[in-house]
């Protein structure tokens, strides 16, 4: 497959790996946080960690939208489907995420609720057109990548005069979350979590561009390299971060130039700005309330806002006891530090969101067997 196979070539991976081994300073450690679950997945699937020197460590971040959605919002979706008799449409990732009382959208579907998995917002619109007598709610989640398609759907629904379609908006923003991690006491207090540099997200950046990262590269003096999702992209970006750290620089660099520009996708950004506005704050699992970190639908499109059309109460719900998802999402703990990991919590029977989504750190550890790796086990027990 073009633009995929060549970025997975083993011979090139060996070259980049040799260059990294050659250029690292043996006297220091390099803690590099990949914000995005897509990178976590690439690192595990292709064994990128094994191609790094011992003093280069990947710290997994909260960039998995399924993982960071608080339990209360899942409970809201379950209530909508059960109590308001709506057709609830959502992306496949959301179906198995446990809400309160171990309920999930998949379980309530089995009990008779009308929950439908869609591939695209266009599918949700079609369901609304085909069922004019029913209320259709699109349970929208995701970062800046998934937001523009939701904006297109809302505009299209308005243009078509679809009266039975609304969006339960849970779209969140990447820069706000990275800033929150950098400002957290764990990162500020020396010795608990050290993050020396960041891999910037691939496809989020294709929409927002590289410009939004310039502020915190400067403010927090940490280098950022925007990296593609293929294993060679991740390795080359690690090399670029290592070079910056060796030289004492903290710039925003872009490895994923085949897709990402400084300004991003202007058309997509304009559509998002037309339909959405910032929420004053939004709860993230693991990070708590993060100011200006999520979007809501503007009042001009209130007719398509599920939270205006239905009673959607704020629900305070807690995670399953013993689940370490919150600490794992902040990069403070590893999946192997969680008592539930691999015992009662597996992808077939997930207790926490990080085990559900393929982008979650727990699912990546489990799927690619990294927890059986002697180095990982040693580190975990250290």
């Amino acid at each position: 497959m073009k633009y995929v196979d060549e970025f997975r070539r083993q011979d090139l991976a060996k070259k980049v790996s040799r260059a990294i081994h050659n250029e690292v300073d043996r006297g220091r450690r390099y803690n590099l946080m990949e914000f995005c679950g897509g990178h976590t997945h690439a690192i595990f699937r292709y064994g990128v960690q094994d191609l790094m020197p011992d003093n280069v460590r990947f710290v997994h971040g909260p960039g998995c939208p399924v993982c960071v959605l608080p339990v209360g919002r899942i409970d809201n979706a379950i209530q909508l489907a059960q109590q308001h008799d709506v057709i609830l449409c959502t992306y496949g990732d959301m179906l198995r995420v446990p809400g309160s009382g171990r309920k999930s959208l998949l379980k309530i579907k089995a009990e008779g609720a009308d929950v439908r998995m869609v591939y695209s917002t266009q599918d949700a619109l079609k369901i609304a057109r085909d069922n004019p007598g029913r209320e259709v709610v699109f349970f929208a989640i995701g970062f800046e990548t998934t937001t523009p398609p939701t904006a297109v759907a809302i505009r299209q629904a308005q243009a078509e005069g679809l009266k039975n379609f609304s969006v339960f908006c849970n779209h969140v923003l990447t820069p706000a979350a990275i800033q929150n991690i950098l400002e957290s006491p764990e990162v500020r207090e020396i010795g608990s979590v050290l993050i020396d540099g960041f891999f910037g997200p691939s496809h989020v950046s294709s929409v927002i561009g590289s410009q939004p990262y310039e502020f915190f590269a400067e403010e927090f003096q940490r280098p950022v390299v925007i990296a593609g999702f293929e294993p060679l992209d991740v390795m080359q970006s690690a090399l670029m971060l290592i070079r910056q750290l060796n030289e004492g620089r903290h710039d925003v660099e872009n490895e994923y130039t085949r897709v990402v520009s400084r300004d991003g996708n202007r058309k997509a950004k304009a559509l998002v700005a037309e339909v959405f506005e910032l929420r004053r704050s939004f709860e993230w699992r693991g990070l708590g309330l993060v100011p200006y970190s999520a979007l809501r639908i503007k009042s001009a499109y209130a007719g398509f806002d599920t939270e205006k059309r239905f009673d959607v109460p704020a629900i305070q719900a807690s995670d399953v006891k013993g689940c370490e998802c919150p600490s794992i999402l902040r990069g403070v703990k590893k999946p192997t530090d969680c008592k539930l990991f691999g015992t009662v919590c597996t992808p077939e029977n997930p207790m926490g969101s990080c085990m559900v989504s393929s982008e979650g750190a727990c699912a990546a550890y489990w799927t690619y067997g990294r927890f059986r790796d002697p180095t990982t086990a040693r580190e975990a027990s250290a």
């Binding site: 073009k2 995929v4 970025f7 980049v16 990732d93 998934t146 398609p149 496809h203 294709s206 897709v259």
Partner: protein, 85 residues
């Protein structure tokens, strides 16, 4: 969630702002509402049924060349008297 796959545009329908992409033998109808100036033959990133961005063939080549260069720097550094500063 943010994963996207590169695919080639084989057909464009200006009226509905959509198109068809080919991924090996698979063909899929996608929305082109988020991108400008797409032509048949272009590679685009597909995400939840939408083309998110065009892929630049020139930049892809440049990045691939960088992977090879990494070793060149290494060789220079390893050579006696050489240095990659």
């Amino acid at each position: 969630m943010c994963l996207a796959i590169p695919a080639q545009v084989v057909e464009i329908d200006d009226v509905s702002d959509s198109g068809t992409v080919a991924l090996g033998p698979v063909r899929k109808r996608i929305s082109l509402a988020l991108v400008d100036d797409v032509s048949v033959g272009d590679f685009v990133l597909i995400h939840v049924g939408y083309a998110l961005n065009k892929i630049s063939p020139e930049e892809a080549e440049r990045t691939l060349a960088l992977f090879g260069e990494a070793e060149l720097v290494e060789e220079l550094a390893a050579a006696p008297g050489g240095g990659a500063t």
